[in-house]
Every structure is written in structure tokens, then in C-alpha cells.
């Protein structure tokens, strides 16, 4: 969790006194989603239904359910973390997931493409989609909110065109009209049927993203652009390039999530991923990343994502209505945001 330090170091505008002061609240906020995850887990253990003394919440199958269910939104949230640290937003992610799952399905089923060309093409498509959005936003100085809102519509529209307004079932086998059977592995579990493959993709992507954000020059640039754009520009950070790059990353992440979706559910539909952008933003915010940019952590996002999944799981295991689930999520988002705002005020960083 050295992200905040990196941010401060890369951000000349922050008074150096601020980083010396040890604020307990700031520590809580930095680790808020991990703390939240621990709290939810403890709550899960306490309130979990039991069978023959076994705590259902801790049942390996149940843990696998939780981490499988959040893997798609998790992959997206990881990309979203980069964007939000630069003080941007990407609303197109869920729609790009839908477009990617449709393209994946139709390339393999009606296009007759193999596994590798399909995956590469879809990932490149995601990167291109994000790059175009980032370029429009920086070139014409448009709010990313507007550009990616348009991107959302465009991606859904393209998905409807590609799919011909139909959903595409993926059947496996050799020959035309069938997908390579190995693709179905995305819906399976490895290591003695315990670890969902979708989760493995999520964790690997999270690990790479954490390294990129915390140890590379690009990662420091991302914090610098979000912390103080003008200062970053003066210090020689290629601000526009960084901004375009983060949207390329969300595009890539959405495409990856779309491939995982198609593989998990043997299916491509233009409606896939509806509303995922909001779940992903919620996970990022709960993870302690500030919507004002400049601060945030990847570990926080991962913990926030899993926390939302664990919360939904424990509420369902106890047969609590979906309405309560929404209210609980709402309360957590507000709490996370309020904590952040308090810290900003204490540090005198109120922007």
C-alpha cells in the first residue's frame, strides 16, 4: 500500500508536511476496503447459516462462488482504477463488455476463426475503442463523462449490429459453426475443481495492474496527472498520452471481461454487462480511490470488488431481499466517500 506515498512524491503541489503527519483516519481510509472486506467476512462467519456445524459462508464452494461472480466486474474495476486516478471516468465499460462478448461469439461461431485470432482481435478492438475515446476526450477537451457516455451507446449499437439483434450461443467442437472446446475452460474450475478460471484471469490481471501502477514510470505519471494536471504537464509528463493510455486500458479490460463472459456463459448477447460500469465504479470508490483523482490503490479496488460480492452472498445465504442488498451497498458507498472527504479536508487538500 505504498501508492499514496508515490502519489505524494510525484505530485509537487502537495506540501511536504502533509505526508509526514500520521493521521489515523487517513490510514483507515487507505485500508478502508480491506477493513471493510474483513468486517464483511467476520459478519459472514457470524451470520452464516450452518449445516452440521459447518459454516456455509466459509465452504470452499461458496468462496469460489463469490470470487467467480465478481471476476468480470473486478477486471473492469481494475481498468477503471487507472482512469479514476487520473480524475476521469469511463461509462462505456459495460457496453464494451457486451460488444466484446458478441464479437467473440460471432467470430468463433459464424466467422470460423480460431481461438487465438479471436481473442487477439477482441482485445485489440477493446484497446482501439478506448484509444478513440481517450483521443476524442483529450483532443477536443471534452469531459470523459460525455465521451464515454456516447461510447456506451456506440458500443451497444455496434453489438446489436454485429449480433443481428440475436443472441449467439457458443457450441463447442471441431468444424464450422463450432468453437474450440478449450475456450469453455473459462467456465470451469481448476485445481481439484476449486478455483474458477475466471477468477484466475481476474487475479493475474490485478497483479499485473498493481505492478504497473506501483512500480513503473507510467504508474507514477497516472498519479501525477490526476493529482495536479498542470504541475504534471510542467514537469514534463506527457499528459495527453497518459490520459489516452488509461482509456485504452479500460477498453482492454472490458474486452478481456467480455471474453471471460462469453467463455463462462457460452453465449454472446448485446445486453451483456448492462450496468457493470456502475458496479465497477462503486468497487473503485469503496476501494479508496478518489473520484477527484490523484489517490487510489489497486489492492483497494480488488478488496472492494470482493467485498461487494461477499456482501451479496451473505445476504442471499440468509435470504435477505435484494432491496436490502442495494441499500447496504448504497450505505457503504456513502461511507467510503465521506471518509475520503474527511481525510482530504484534514490534509488541507480540499479541491
Amino acid at each position: 500500500m505504498s501508492d499514496q506515498k508515490i502519489e505524494v512524491a510525484a505530485n509537487p503541489a502537495v506540501p511536504s508536511a502533509a505526508k509526514r503527519r500520521v493521521d489515523p483516519l487517513a490510514i483507515v481510509v487507505r485500508f478502508q476496503s480491506l477493513i471493510g472486506l474483513v468486517l464483511v467476512a467476520i459478519g459472514g462467519i457470524i451470520f452464516s447459516p450452518r449445516r452440521h456445524g459447518e459454516i456455509l459462508f466459509l465452504n470452499p464452494d461458496n468462496i469460489a462462488n463469490i470470487v467467480r461472480a465478481v471476476s468480470e466486474t473486478g477486471i473492469i474495476a481494475i481498468g477503471m482504477t487507472f482512469v479514476i486516478i487520473t480524475a476521469g471516468i469511463d461509462l462505456s465499460v459495460g457496453a464494451v463488455l457486451g460488444l466484446s462478448s458478441v464479437v467473440t461469439a460471432s467470430m468463433m461461431i459464424s466467422g470460423g476463426f480460431g481461438l487465438i485470432p479471436t481473442i487477439l482481435a477482441v482485445l485489440v478492438m477493446g484497446i482501439v475503442f478506448g484509444t478513440v475515446q481517450g483521443t476524442i476526450s483529450t483532443r477536443f477537451r471534452l469531459e470523459p463523462f460525455i465521451v464515454t457516455l456516447a461510447g456506451l451507446q456506440a458500443a451497444r449499437g455496434l453489438a446489436l449490429i454485429v449480433s443481428g439483434n440475436q443472441y449467439i450461443n457458443i457450441s463447442y467442437g471441431d468444424g464450422p459453426g463450432l468453437a474450440p472446446p478449450v475456450f469453455a475452460v473459462l467456465g470451469e474450475r481448476l485445481f481439484d475443481n476449486t478455483v474458477p478460471v475466471a477468477t484466475i484471469v481476474f487475479i493475474i490481471f490485478a497483479a499485473i495492474a498493481t505492478l504497473v501502477l506501483n512500480t513503473t514510470r507510467f504508474g507514477r505519471y497516472v498519479y501525477a496527472v490526476g493529482g495536479n494536471e498542470r504541475a504534471a504537464r510542467i514537469s514534463g509528463v506527457p499528459v495527453s498520452m497518459v490520459k489516452i493510455a488509461v482509456y485504452a486500458i479500460t477498453g482492454f479490460a472490458s474486452a478481456l471481461a467480455g471474453i471471460v463472459h462469453a467463455g463462462q456463459f457460452n453465449f454472446g448477447s448485446a445486453n451483456d454487462g448492462m450496468g457493470y460500469e456502475l458496479t465497477a465504479i462503486a468497487a473503485v470508490v469503496i476501494g479508496g480511490t478518489s473520484l477527484f483523482g490523484g489517490a487510489g490503490s489497486m489492492v483497494g479496488t480488488v478488496a472492494g470488488t470482493i467485498m461487494l460480492g461477499a456482501l451479496a452472498n451473505i445476504l442471499q445465504l440468509n435470504n435477505i431481499t435484494p432491496a436490502t442488498q442495494l441499500l447496504a451497498t448504497a450505505a457503504i458507498i456513502v461511507l467510503a466517500a465521506v471518509l475520503q472527504s474527511l481525510v482530504r479536508r484534514r490534509e488541507g487538500l480540499g479541491r
Binding site: 464452494d61 461458496n62 462462488n65 456463459f265 457460452n266 451479496a312
Partner: protein, 327 residues
């Protein structure tokens, strides 16, 4: 010698065969759920596709009411919220909980198929309500209970042909979401039903995606183009409600037929009772049938159940609407 040996072999084969038969029948005689008992406590998990649709809320209400009648049953409903990922994880949660029976209305067929298989593999009988996953009922899942969209719409067509327009005239159809299975089946069913009366012409058919606002716009345009439309068949109640607004706006007296027969103040039964629509045809929820089947499996230790149960529609007309609306 040879004959004796032969007969011995034959006897042995017969014995083995008999043994197999006994083993086979003993296997078939196993109850679907081993823990079944008359006075047991059972949890039934229902994985609903999307609570946001009024019809699906109606299914939830009927299921809850039917389950309440059985003292040993606890019903848990999970809302898939129109998202196959959410619904899959909810089915997995039910498997973790080891519910005694899984009821499911899959949001989409193929994506939920693996989850249903996991439940079956875990020894949980799966009853599919209204929508199916991929595979055969009785084999890949325990049973399917639902209405027959084609037949329901065909009934509406016959009603039009014999009761509403016996002397012929112009009719129109509002279709659901194009390319969705129920939309196609209801459209074809209605057309089949009106074929009995050659004097009826279907002059317009438009998709309104199941929603009232699109139905209002589409039917207003239809009335502009074909002012003599006498009957409108709407593929669900919500579109019928939208069409009524269009007819009122145009000052036309069109006989409107809905589908689904939803209860409540905004539902089709009330609309027929008030005289706004000519009829609506219920799309049965199968809730009562699902709970009955659960009783057979869990309380009566059934060794097998009907793999497919088709629930018939009820025609709601001005004659019976008032009585049914009060219910």
C-alpha cells in the same frame, strides 16, 4: 451334455438378466430426494430471472402464496436482476445451501445451463418454470412447467375469429421483442387462430418490445394508416394498455386483447372488468403446479414426476373478469 451346458448358460443368462432387472427397478424406485418425509422441513430455492418485470413479480407472489399453504416448506427467492452472471451465482449459492428443490426461470437458456447441471449433479431436483435451459426435461433437469405461448395466442386468435369478428374485418397485432422466443410464438399462434375465419384480415403487425410507450406510438401510427382496425391483439398486457391510450387518443373504439392476465389495479383482468379491453388470456405462472410437484417429491417421496407440465390458459372476458378481479 451339450444341451445341458447350453441350458445352464441360458439359465445363468436369465438369472443375470433377472438380477439386472431387479437392480434396475430398485434403482428406479429410489425417491428423487432421499431425505423426503411427510413431516420434514424443506427449503425451496427459486431463482427468478428478473423481478423488475411485472409478470415475474406475479409469479413470485403466486409461488409465495402456494408455498405458504405447505407447513414444512420455506421458499427463498433470489432475483437474477436480468443478469446471467448474478443468476448463476445465486444458483450456486442455493447449491451451497443445499436447498431441497431448485426452481428456476432462467434469464437466458444457454448461460444458465451449466449452473442447472451443477445443481442436478449435487442431487438437487431442478424444476424449470416458464423458461427452459438447454437439454431435455426429465434428463438434464427434472421437469419443466409452463404455459404454451403458441396455444395461448391461438386461443386469442380463435376468440377473435368466432366472438369478436364473426363477420370479418381488419385486425392488427403488436408483437413483443423481435426474435425473442415468446414474441415469435405468440405472433404465429394468433395468426394460426384467426385463420379459421377467412374474412379477417391482419392489416398491420409491429414490434413494440413488450413496453406500453412503444405500443402507444406504434398503434397510433397503425390507426392512422388503417382507420378501420376493429381488433388489436397485443402480445402482453402492458402493450395492450399502451394501445388503449392510442385508441382513446384517436377516438376509436377498438376491441383490444391482452396476454398474461396480470392481477392488480394496473393488470389485464381489471382492464377487462372495467370494459376497457375485450379480453385477455392468462399466461399461467405454473406456481401452484410447481409447489404441487415439490410436494410430490419432498413429502410423498415420488420416484418420478411428469417431465413436462403444460398449464392451460384461461380466457378473461367481461363475463368472468369481475369475479376474478375480486380475487
Amino acid at each position: 451334455m451339450r444341451t445341458t451346458t447350453g441350458s445352464r448358460v441360458l439359465k445363468a443368462a436369465l438369472l443375470a438378466g433377472a438380477g439386472l432387472c431387479i437392480a434396475g427397478s430398485a434403482y428406479a424406485a429410489n425417491p428423487l430426494v432421499k431425505a423426503c418425509s411427510k413431516d420434514g422441513q424443506f427449503v425451496i430455492g427459486f431463482s427468478q430471472a428478473n423481478n423488475a418485470e411485472p409478470y415475474r413479480q406475479h409469479v413470485n407472489d403466486e409461488l409465495t402464496a402456494a408455498a405458504k399453504q405447505v407447513p414444512g416448506f420455506t421458499l427463498q427467492i433470489a432475483d437474477g436482476a436480468g443478469n446471467v452472471n448474478t443468476q448463476t451465482s445465486q444458483v450456486d449459492n442455493f447449491i451451497t445451501q443445499k436447498v431441497d428443490i431448485l426452481l428456476i426461470s432462467p434469464f437466458e437458456a444457454a448461460p444458465l445451463t451449466p449452473a442447472v447441471k451443477r445443481a442436478m449433479d449435487a442431487g438437487i431436483p431442478v424444476i424449470e418454470l416458464d423458461r427452459k435451459t438447454v437439454g431435455e426435461p426429465g434428463k438434464d433437469y427434472t421437469a419443466f412447467i409452463g404455459g404454451d405461448n403458441f396455444k395461448i395466442a391461438e386461443e386469442a386468435g380463435k376468440f377473435t375469429a368466432t366472438k369478436l369478428l364473426p363477420d370479418g374485418g381488419e385486425a392488427a397485432v403488436l408483437e413483443g421483442l423481435p426474435s425473442s422466443t415468446p414474441a415469435v410464438e405468440r405472433l404465429n399462434g394468433f395468426k394460426e387462430g384467426v385463420k379459421g375465419n377467412a374474412k379477417i384480415q391482419i392489416v398491420a403487425e409491429q414490434a413494440a418490445d413488450w413496453v406500453p410507450d412503444k405500443a402507444q406510438t406504434a398503434f397510433a401510427a397503425m390507426l392512422q394508416a388503417h382507420p378501420d382496425i376493429k381488433v388489436l391483439y397485443a402480445s402482453n398486457d402492458m402493450m395492450a394498455a399502451g394501445a388503449l391510450l392510442a385508441a382513446k387518443g384517436a377516438g376509436k373504439d377498438v376491441k383490444i386483447i391482452g396476454t398474461d392476465g396480470l392481477p392488480g389495479p394496473a393488470g389485464g383482468i381489471e382492464a377487462v372488468a372495467k370494459g376497457d379491453w375485450a379480453a385477455t388470456f392468462t399466461y399461467p405462472t405454473g406456481a401452484k403446479e410447481a409447489i404441487d410437484m415439490s410436494k410430490k417429491i419432498l413429502l410423498d417421496c415420488a420416484t418420478s414426476v411428469d417431465a413436462t407440465v403444460t398449464v392451460d390458459t384461461t380466457a378473461i372476458t367481461p363475463e368472468n373478469a369481475k369475479a376474478l378481479a375480486g380475487k
